[in-house]
Symmetry: C2
Amino acid sequence: MPERPLADLILRDARVVTQEPRSGVIERGWIAARAGRIVGLGTGEPRVRGSARAVERRVRGRVVIPGLVDPHTHLLYAGRRYEEFVERRAGTPYLEILKRGGGIHRTVAQTRAASDAALARLLRERIARAAAQGTTTLEIKSGYGLAVEEELRQLRIIDRVRAEAPIDIVTTYLALHALPVGADRAAFVAAAGRAVATVAREKLAERVDAFVDEAVFSVSDAGVVFRAARRAGLAVVLHADQFNDTGGAALAARSHALSADHLAAASDRGLAAMAGAGTVAVLLPGSALIVGYTPPDATRFRKAGVRMALATDQNPGTSPLEGMPTAIALGVNLCGMRPDEALTAATRNAAAALGRERVSGSLRIGKRADLVVLDTDDERDLAYRVGARLIREVYAAGRRVAG
Amino acid sequence: MPERPLADLILRDARVVTQEPRSGVIERGWIAARAGRIVGLGTGEPRVRGSARAVERRVRGRVVIPGLVDPHTHLLYAGRRYEEFVERRAGTPYLEILKRGGGIHRTVAQTRAASDAALARLLRERIARAAAQGTTTLEIKSGYGLAVEEELRQLRIIDRVRAEAPIDIVTTYLALHALPVGADRAAFVAAAGRAVATVAREKLAERVDAFVDEAVFSVSDAGVVFRAARRAGLAVVLHADQFNDTGGAALAARSHALSADHLAAASDRGLAAMAGAGTVAVLLPGSALIVGYTPPDATRFRKAGVRMALATDQNPGTSPLEGMPTAIALGVNLCGMRPDEALTAATRNAAAALGRERVSGSLRIGKRADLVVLDTDDERDLAYRVGARLIREVYAAGRRVAG
């Protein structure tokens, strides 16, 4: 008989939602970790040996889920945009605010003006708040630089904070976010394309992103930075078809993007192409709620066979949403996901959107021990009890980071 | 010079949002309380003497607001309704579920089957969670009895829990919530009307409520219990025009109801009548989000000159929403309130909806010291940072109850 594995963290007497199709949910379950990795899980009495300093927690009547994965945020910024928020509520369309130098441009000015230290402090606080809400893998984009040197500065700040963060951070170079007012489009796109090589050489980001929509960037602009990403060996993702269908979903599919995000206005052909390419759809109900447009309809994605993920899109303008529990609740109540779909969208599929599916997003032996204990006996409460504080304990790579 | 008043609680160095039109916001403000009442507030150095056991807290860079007031909940119930929740998401209308004995009827069966002790325990837990989210005045309705003896049992349970609750509880007898399957309508309404006298005699509730809509109760049914309430000296409120305009708003106005609640389908005439009568409109965006109907539009209420309040409508079916911060965020982002309107709706106007405006809902000398310290320097974050955990400390009648 093989010796029982050694564990330094054991959670037991829980309902364990593994997100592994083959095992599903384990009632009266346990899960054990050592050195940050899952070393065992099952039902009944834990079949592991506790190390000398092992933490063993009985979480009777509660649910353990995989750490939540937030695959789309704009977390590095300074300032707030209350006035625009109020103005949008009064009926001014977001793309109009953007055109006249508001929206992103306002945050760009405030972020450029902030010191490295100030930005790093803000970013650390936001990461801590995300972790307290159950996020153990967090994507962070640059994109409030809109000039190569400033983008690189922002990516370097993210990288320094990432290295010491309590949770896993995935950095994305958002090469095309908005055209600076008065800038030459072709020159701007070309410079962003050239910057991709620097980003890759300095290992500042894993992914390259672009925002394709009317009055923003075109499919052919995005093609420039995507080709550069391919040459540099970086993955690509896309802000696609948020307000208008400009062919973003199809571009994402033919570029083998990890994900296409937003997609409220994507065409059926675009979704079919994504399904064929295995590109994950990252739905961002927070920005639909806050900007006030019709949210993406989960039924269409389900029908097309596209994998759905959820994210906060946390940013100071169109989605100041905080916490994946709210994204889950809105995914169900605004986009029409089923509660089980929304939880998969916030864990396993979100990890896939980040190219992290082998590492996190579900609970099985060998994966990182990213675990959340919910203060309920039914994980559907994340969708059902909107606004409830359900995140009780959060473990990232086996270490307690919140709760 | 008068002697400075004695205080046992002093919060200082705060942005104090008083909700008193004449003073508005106090920057670098302080607020002091003694024996549960506000004894002073102002800017700069507190002009009070601390008692021997006084608590003095510097809350620099943070906001102090009046304790939040939730004027509409169905908090006494057993069981959950996940299946119905999923079914509604799949497209079945709520009134159809209700007609075939689902919806409220399901909760009625589960609540009837629960013991006094079990219901009291659930209620205490829910009150503690509400307080942790900043609620210091909380309305609780009966209504899952649908038979006089069972309604009285539920009201007695609420009353026992109320007597020992850390926050102020306002009890409402929801006399007409749903017609039991197979019951005779006239006999049911008459019995509910007679029960009002018992409720008043035993001091089990301050208010009488009825649910008026198609397939539920009519304006004339509500008239029966309202007349009984008037004879017994109880205030009246109404679930009005949630799904269809059946004249609820106008009935509320001519009955001098404290509030009419829901109102998503209310007519302009109904709103005008409410404005004339001073009846508060309690908007419940949680149920609009969760059931999936068009939310009430704040513009219409603003135009009609009706005072708007917000509530969670917390209940196990149509609005499992928890916490007034989420109600505020949805009031702005779904109903189109301005952030300042939503905060007034969750404090001063909500107190008015409960007949508690002289006691709570704003900060001035003599009112109860119900105070919330927000973990931000701008109260608009309650509307803006949807899902953020902003409730830092909660004081009810000067005693710390959460945070």
